[in-house]
């Protein structure tokens, strides 16, 4: 009886708690990492005073944000203005439900799965839920009753809509191979085939990654908040913890999309060369560590790009999506379909 309670109720509840807290922890890690790595790229030192090597800096920032005054200017739509940051953060956190953070671990007789929910259309759900964040951005931009946020909001609509298409097409080519939209099955298929999809579908990987950077509004596609043009874009008028929500959501989205890239193209929790016999000792390392190492690479990649590239201009951004990525991904999907049929 007690074991049923444990397996059916307590463990799932703990898993939900872990999955809700995990993106937040990653946000803290990322804020610190980003500031230190960008500082290193720019031959600066970066925050190194609060705690060992500045690791407590994100907490100091959070405390500061917490005590900031919440300003709402005249004419703002009170309800939508307040609900916008919640939508953005919520959409990022909810999507983690379907992300496998590791494989299955056997503890005694119990098989512990490192995911909260398994759905036959998990991939679709993740993309759909994370795309809801665009509503938060539009609402925030529109409800602010200010011109810079309005322009930022308008930009983000066009940007995210444009980049949804190459994302969808890149994902489609993965689904051709995995024959499933279940995130766990996609990883298992890669184990079965003995190769990460990144090596079979490099073009899809590149298209997906570019679109992922664009969808998270990160440099060089950070147009909705391009600080040198639109001051801070859609969140110009936000202060205090409401701004903090947008800020956390950006990082949570980065973690989410890095996880999706890792699952789709880099074998999720699988070690490199999962079926090569003399490398089988790599399976001794728990799956969630492999997963973590891989997403850290992509999160680092985000920062690296930010430290290197200038920002795209709006028309160039749209041109890149519609004149390059969409035709290229269409061609890619057709080729893969053809190969699959033959």
């Amino acid at each position: 009886m007690s074991s049923t309670l444990l397996y059916e109720f307590i463990i799932p509840l703990l898993k939900v708690a872990v999955v809700a807290i995990y993106p937040m922890l990653m946000v803290i890690v990322m804020i610190w990492l980003e500031r230190r790595v960008v500082a290193w790229i720019q031959s600066r030192i970066g925050p190194n005073r609060v705690g060992f090597q500045g690791v407590l800096q994100p907490f100091a920032d959070a405390i500061k944000l917490f005590f900031k005054e919440n300003i709402m200017q005249c004419g703002a739509d009170r309800f939508i203005f307040n609900v916008a940051p919640v939508i953005v953060l919520w959409s990022a956190l909810l999507a983690f439900t379907f992300v496998p953070l590791g494989g299955t671990m056997q503890i005694g007789t119990y098989n512990l799965n490192f995911w909260v929910a398994e759905s036959p259309v998990g991939l679709l759900l993740i993309l759909g839920i994370s795309a809801i964040s665009v509503f938060g951005i539009i609402f925030g931009g529109w409800a602010s009753n200010s011109k810079y946020p309005l322009l930022g909001g308008l930009r983000s609509v066009v940007q995210i809509l444009s980049y949804e298409i190459p994302t969808g097409l890149a994902v489609l080519s993965v689904v051709f191979f995995s024959e499933s939209m279940n995130m766990i099955d996609i990883v298992k298929k890669q184990q079965e085939m003995g190769v990460w999809f990144a090596f079979i579908l490099p073009v899809s990987l590149i298209i997906f990654w570019i679109s992922a950077v664009a969808e998270t509004n990160r440099c060089p596609f950070d147009l909705p908040e391009g600080e040198s043009e639109l001051v801070a874009g859609f969140h110009t008028e936000y202060s205090g913890l409401k701004f903090g929500y947008f800020f956390m959501a950006e990082y949570a989205h980065m973690v989410l999309l890095s996880s999706v890239v890792v699952v789709l193209f880099f074998g999720g929790w699988l070690p490199p060369f999962p079926n090569v016999r003399f490398l089988s000792f790599l399976h001794k390392v728990p799956g969630f560590i492999w997963y973590f190492v891989k997403i850290m690479f992509f999160l680092y990649f985000y920062i690296w790009i930010r430290g290197t590239f200038p920002r795209y201009r709006f028309d160039e951004l749209i041109k890149l999506a519609w004149k390059w990525l969409v035709p290229l991904s269409l061609l890619n999907v057709m080729l893969i379909a053809l190969i699959k049929v033959l």
Binding site: V38, I41, Q42, S43, R44, K147, Y148, L151, L154, R155, C219, P220, D222, L223, G226, E227, S228, E229, L230, V231, R306, G307, T308, F309, P310, R311, Y312, R313, F314, D315, E316
Partner: protein
Amino acid sequence: MAFKEIELNMGPQHPSTHGVLRLKLAVDNEVVLRVEPVVGYLHRGIEKLCEHHTYFQITPYTDRLDYFAATQNNLAYLLAVEKLAGIEVPKRGQYIRVILAELQRLASHLAWIGFNANDIGAMSVLLYGFAEREGILEIFEEYIGARLTIHSLRIGGVPHDLDAKIISMILAALDSIPARLKDIEMLLSDNRIWKHRTQGVGVIPADEALALGLTGPALRAAGVRWDIRKNIPYSSYEDFDFDVPLGTNSDVYDRYLVRLEEIRQSVRIIRQAIAKLPGGESRATVPKILKIPAGEVFHSIEAPKGELGFYIQANGSEKPERVKIKVPSFINLQSLERMCRGYLIADVVAILGSLDIVLGEIDK
């Protein structure tokens, strides 16, 4: 999409208007229809203040014009005063002035590259530019004790001679700057995004640039060979061998290339000046109370931002009757609307950056 024309206030508090400039933009969606610069937020009445101070006391005020190139402002003012008073600066003093002025040009251009790159989104370059500028500021600190508004020149010459330590510091800085320029070029010059953002943006034909009074690197990027250091040499610039880089397309990219090349040419000038540094005095003897007989003078120099000229009217006393400063940034700002019309909001930032304005100079 039908969209109402909206008026957008860019500044005076905006991250990339380089101070307290306010631009009234009329935009249709993101396309700029009109630009109206509103200036005066930093007005301190320097021209009027000059009328109440002696010729010696005015020099530090000129530091506050273009605070990124204080020595250049000093030089323009002092050359005008010396021309009016008939003071001959010794050759060594002139050479040291050239060294300091060119170091200041390097500092100004390096900061500019950083600012413009940051406006376009490449934030690392800002720090690279400033790291090199820091080395130059340290030289000034060693020479005069100050870093920004340094008041490093005096009527009749320079306050101190250059000692061996400063010369070795200068040579070290000159060695590290070209290496850093290579880094910056590697990040920007062939970068697709950078080219998209700068090539063909903010184009102004040479004849219109001349009609609007554009000077400095922005004019040379339009292909007009006008560098006062070459055309009307002052302070012994005729002794040095240097090229005047010219652009062809008159866009933001060419302004960037012209400034990069000007940095290299400044390095060349400083190396020559150090190598050929003549002996003797570095400052002429100037009376403690300088009374200039009635008369007027205009003298202009090639400051990092363009032509910087001082018109001084003397009335026989130790204070000038009237000082009028022709500042490059203010006049260059006129051409902003011509350059921005029809481009996007993001381009306004890039174009404004490419003009290299300093509000201390515009508002005086």
